[in-house]
Symmetry: D2
Subunit: 472 residues, 4 copies
């Protein structure tokens, strides 16, 4: 054990030094088992060569040349996979009044903190499917400019049709205890003209509103096919859904829908969405009909899934107040099994954000998230992978669910998702074989993003939320 740890540290240290000195230097990861997430079998004693942020070679050592002068990373006995992805999380999930008030001008710093926690746990790319666009944009710019470390961020901004944090979709109850000016200011950061008023609109008005909104700098669009607090209702007519999809696609953006019931799922599929956000959630009673699942498989509609472990579901059944929340996950587990069988493309997702230590400690509802946590950023994706395993998904498919499936569904597979020449140089080195057990995804040794080894111990660099201490 000690020997292994020492070597690991040595690797990290040498690389970091190397990276800092010679920015554009070539790096070669050698000796490990390379699993490229294309579906091809693992390459024993494989080599991955990285240069200028891209993969320039992948293959067996026997047939793959390591360029001279390249920094070598010894991955013998280890497993090399593409950087992990979360297809659905929320880098800023902190809707508690205290955070919203106290850090009003620093939401982007919290986004950075979250992006660093994600990166530290192997996620080189994340898809933020709901959040304050301004702060996300600012944080992404800082990360992309190299000012701060962090996962590569793609974001949607608001969920079209949803009100902001202090609306009926989230925490309307707090609004009377705050100034109207503050409430409006915060809600506006999320809504940006895409709030609940859209549900009143006939097609013409909706088209105008969507054309304006879609032109903002989001990477993709997301709309509510159904309600959030009230998950049973449907938000948009079929023709309204189609308009939203069209306006996203017109600008080359993928479009996904928040869905929570069998019928909202079916309608969103018909409307032509690329992704169903938590498309495995169909409410407390009825699983998704096979007819709908087959349609999804046929059309290639992908699903970001909120897979949970049985242990987590049992804890929810036991601890949740009245067991109200639990059934969703029980039904969802059934849906996932059916999707695996129907051949629906599944992606790891979590809805995760930085859990506020104090809020977590105080809330009986949040506290169920302590057994195989799902919403806890940095934990949720590991548990989701185990959840897929329990649902009967094949090992290689599990890997793809957190890598190539995500890239493909978001139409980013030219750059991301596999270890292939030309792709971005994002990879994770594991101590244990992920194809042997999904629990092995936790055995992260190193994370390389854009060809550079990440100093994991340094993350998060300037924590705001995650470092808050709970008073005894």
């Amino acid at each position: 054990m000690i020997a292994r740890t020492r070597r690991a540290l040595a690797i990290s240290a040498s690389i970091v030094v190397g990276v800092q000195l010679v920015e554009a230097q070539t790096v070669a990861v050698t000796g490990g088992t390379v699993i490229d997430a294309t579906g091809r079998p693992p390459i024993a004693d494989g080599v991955v060569v990285l240069k200028d942020g891209r993969i320039t070679a992948v293959g067996p050592a026997a047939s793959t040349t390591v360029p001279q002068g390249a920094t070598r990373i010894d991955a013998r006995g280890k497993y090399v996979i593409p950087g992990l992805m979360d297809s659905n999380l929320h880098l800023f999930l902190n809707l508690d009044t205290e955070t919203l008030v106290k850090y009003e001008d620093r939401y982007h710093e919290i986004v950075v903190e979250a992006a660093q926690i994600a990166l530290k746990t192997g996620q080189t790319t994340v898809f933020d499917t709901w959040g304050p666009r301004g702060a996300l944009s600012k944080a992404r710019a800082m990360i992309n400019a190299g000012q701060v470390q962090g996962s590569r961020i793609y974001y949607a901004g608001n969920i079209i049709g949803f009100g902001g944090p202090f609306s009926a979709d989230f925490r309307a109850g707090a609004a009377p205890h705050l100034s109207k000016a503050f409430v409006k200011r915060i809600n506006d950061q999320w809504e940006e003209g895409s709030g609940r008023e859209l549900m009143w609109m006939p097609p013409d008005s909706l088209r105008v509103a969507m054309r304006k909104y879609a032109a903002l700098d989001h990477d993709f669009l997301k709309f509510g096919a159904s309600g959030h607090v009230e998950m049973f209702f449907i938000s948009f007519s079929p023709r309204a859904m189609r308009i939203i999809v069209e306006e996203g696609h017109r600008l080359g953006k993928t479009v996904q829908a928040h869905v929570t019931s069998p019928e909202s799922i079916d309608m969103a599929v018909d409307a032509g969405v690329d992704i169903l956000t938590h498309g495995d959630i169909s409410g407390p009673i009825y699983p998704i009909p096979m007819e709908t699942l087959q349609k999804m498989a046929a059309k290639g509609t992908a699903v970001s899934s909120l897979a949970t472990t049985k242990r987590a579901r049992d804890a929810q059944i036991k601890h949740a107040p009245n067991g109200v929340l639990t059934p969703y996950m029980v039904v969802a587990a059934k849906n996932i099994e059916n999707m695996v069988k129907a051949g629906v493309r599944l992606m790891v997702s979590t809805d995760a954000g930085i859990e506020h230590p104090v809020m977590l400690a105080e809330s009986p509802t949040l506290a169920v998230d302590t057994v195989d946590a799902r919403v806890k950023l940095g934990e949720g994706h590991f548990n989701a992978l185990v959840g897929f395993e329990e649902a009967g998904m094949a090992p290689m498919e599990i890997l793809k669910s957190a890598t190539s499936n995500v890239a493909k569904s978001y139409k980013l597979d030219r750059d991301l998702g596999t270890l292939e020449v030309g792709k971005r140089a994002d990879l994770v080195i594991l101590d244990a074989d992920p194809l042997a057990s999904a629990r092995n995804y936790r055995s992260i040794r190193s994370v390389i993003k854009d060809g550079k080894v990440v100093d994991l111990a340094a993350l998060p660099a300037a924590p705001i939320i995650s470092s808050i201490k709970v008073a005894k």
Copy 2:
């Protein structure tokens, strides 16, 4: 004046006596201007002969024989029209806690009271589009058996997809102050298996639930295409709406949808409903697109409209808290104008029930219903007819909106809606010409239902709600 009144009393008295003595006697209304609501021009000095509860002859005195021995009702200088109808009211609208608790076993008596107020104001037939089916059934049986007087009742029971009185669709706030047992008992009376849980159902389950529910003894079905308290959302997917329509039609029942937004209207039309309940309500901002109106006209989808007078809308704008409720009616007025132009079949409707005198006196929201009241049973339909006039509807169309249009839309035109041979002997005698001014519908002299003159002064016979006194 005095002379006229005396004569009127004389007429009433003689008829009542006659009817009481000779049940099956033939009656002839003679000398009046007969407007038969078919669209044909009025017949001056017309005769309408009634026998065994049916119309046996209609025509000009010159060519119409009055059977020997017939009781004659002298209608000289008066106007004879078919019995009026309200296409959308609620004979039991008393959701206040006190009424629900105090009269738990007597809801049917309140329904009778309402049916008598309706009859007293010229409405020989009414369509109850939401209420406790058991009480409605009981009241109807009493009326049909001749035990009590009252409008002829057709009813829907629950609005499919809605919860009962103490659900989020109505008065959830009162529930914590009542026993769970009572809340369940009352909600069950409305829901009968057709509540909010239906919104979660995929097609197969919905089909089963609907087949069971549709078989109850309602005359027609009504479902929520959109929400009630939250009018912006959509309740059912297109395929779910179609299932509901199919299951109603399968049993020969008309099907209507509660609609409140441009998109819920469009979806309900596409689903094939017969009637859009308050199909003129499209929310606070956007009128119904012409495209939808044209589709309605083409398919023959009828609209029960909540027409209001300008005076009423102005009062709402002035008195309503924050003016929140008003815009709906302002937009609705625009919709009605557009429907008239597009040729949509419109029907008088009110949502009316017996307004509780104390609740009315105390409530700032209800109190706006005092200027050209809409929801006040016995008043609302008169004002709606004036509202249609203000919207530019032709005089003959206005008459049809409260008679033949309703019968046709509910597929009851074989029996009801016009003064034609073979139809039920329901008619109203007016002192003033309804085609000259819609305000003249108030000038009711006599009401004849099933061939018998109604003793208007005796109604309501045993008032429970309408007679409550407001303490000073």
Copy 3:
């Protein structure tokens, strides 16, 4: 066992017949152990002679003549004690909205029902310390006139300074869901000019208000020395308390104070009250100081105590939400022990009323009242007697706490409370010795009130609340 039961029935039957036939007939209870509650030792083979509703002789068989022609009740092997009393209950405790609405005109019938449950369980006299005066007055008149059976009732009406059922002192939360007219009507029944507004009054105004209020037909007065929902606050200044006491005493009425904290107790004692209602309740933390207890003993201030069994307190600790309610009883138990030591005159009391079966089944707070119930009318007084025993009270003192102590504190000892010549002919015959164990008070064989044997099986005669069935 069978033999015993048969004999008992035989006794009952013969007496009832006798009573019905010969109203003024003399009755002699013979052969039993008579414990007269004066403190004197029990009389073995004692005789109690009753005539015209009074006791005409008490003593050992050897020296006591049974008048010729007297109906004899054979009490051999049994124990004869005075009729039991509850010094603090609420015959109408049903503040749930449903009861208040549904039985608005029949509260007096519920009072009768309660008085019959009380009588059935040995309580020949009860003191209602808070309720609707009108209904109490009506019920008492019916009982006193012999129209219905029931405990002899003495009542206070409102607690001076308290608002009615829908005020902040009780269930203000329900008010917004009811008409203002109803809320006012109900609150007025309790308040009658003695509500919260009295707390604003300076002495002169209070004197005027109290003089008017005290003249109503209550038997005694009760004021709030402290709050009800908010038990920590003090309601009246010392001089205001004195005015209330004076105005009661001026009319020969005893005056008691609702107290809930050490300081409200001390102030009420200083103000000269006759009785401290639940004077053992001093809040969740601090017992009553010995200085105050000694003052009470010295002045003869009596305490109606809410004694509980240890089993009940343990259940409360375990089941009460957050354990909030429990500590009061834990502290109260300590206070009772101290009072016993200090020689304070203690009386059995319960705060009991008819527990609504549905409300009891549904309420997690009420449900703690199922282990050695206190608030359940007909049960509470038995458990309170056991509570006193557990607190170390001597057997004879326990008997006095439910008989002679109550009579004395309410200044009714000329007529009530002991088995002495001249007193009212109220007595209870027990199968087991109450001085051997306080649990034996439950072994009621017969109850005699005003010299007549009560037909226990027939009570309550026309139950409204207690007979309600809980739906499964």
Copy 4:
């Protein structure tokens, strides 16, 4: 006008320079009418000499020597009075959630901001009768050390018996929307062991708690004789009040009571308080009885009064929701008139703090504070002085109410309150005669505190709350 303004600036400039250069220099205010607030007649052409922060000479120019080298301030045509005082304000009154969260570590800066607004408007000394002791202590230390400008602060910390900002005494409704940890942290800053739990305590426990609490570094003590949100109730028994007074006096601290009803006032007077905080507030109905007023006059119990102008009361009657707040002030006006007649020592007070511009703009309740504002720091004291004038107080008494009466009541008259030799060199120079009209107190030309001229234009120096802009 221009000439006058220029001269004023010249005076200010020269003085400020002088002060900055020669700290301990002697200053002489000459030529003005000196009103020393002792009650003696004004001194025309008077001289006040200040040295080392004290007054070293006061008198007519004819008989008062101006030391050589003294900086002269020409006050010809002006009026020189002692520095004004507010006997009851709240430098931190900002209980809105946003301020409490956002500036959690900077409350002391808000206190400084408030102390600067107070100083700018002539108040050289203020008495903070409720606030977070820690922040007040910190701010005072900064002011006393000369690090920042500001009124001289004396403070009480909590109101004994009151809970903190998120308790039922203030804004309990916001608590569920915040973390328990934050709520506790904030409440603790106010309570420091002196919260609501004290109302449960018997004498011994209260003595212990008070001895501990009184030893904190407050300047004086204040307890709640009555409730805050619920102003009708009494918080402490007579003996409890006496203990609080004794423990304050034992440490040489004055003790005052928050009072709101006739009886809380009477009890506090009997308990021996030095000051009745807003002792003119006796609720919505009843004025304070003359008997109580006479007792106050006899014992020398001072009253910090919330005097208002008639204009302000009329605005409250008109704008306040339901007129609920108004009656207090109408009754208070009557009380003030009676106090003037009875010879009760009255002091200007306001309850003022920094009004948050956004909260003021949004709140219908606060907005009544825009006509002759009372709670608006920097305005309220001017309006209160006019209120006294309207109540019939003599001009010299009005001056004393904001100067010597305050010093005397707080037992600080050795140092403060009059222009007499030996007193602190605090004075205000007015352009217009305050004895001619109370409105002239607004005509502040210069403020001198501790012998130094204040640069009024520079205050507040670093505003946090008062400078917030309201968005359109």
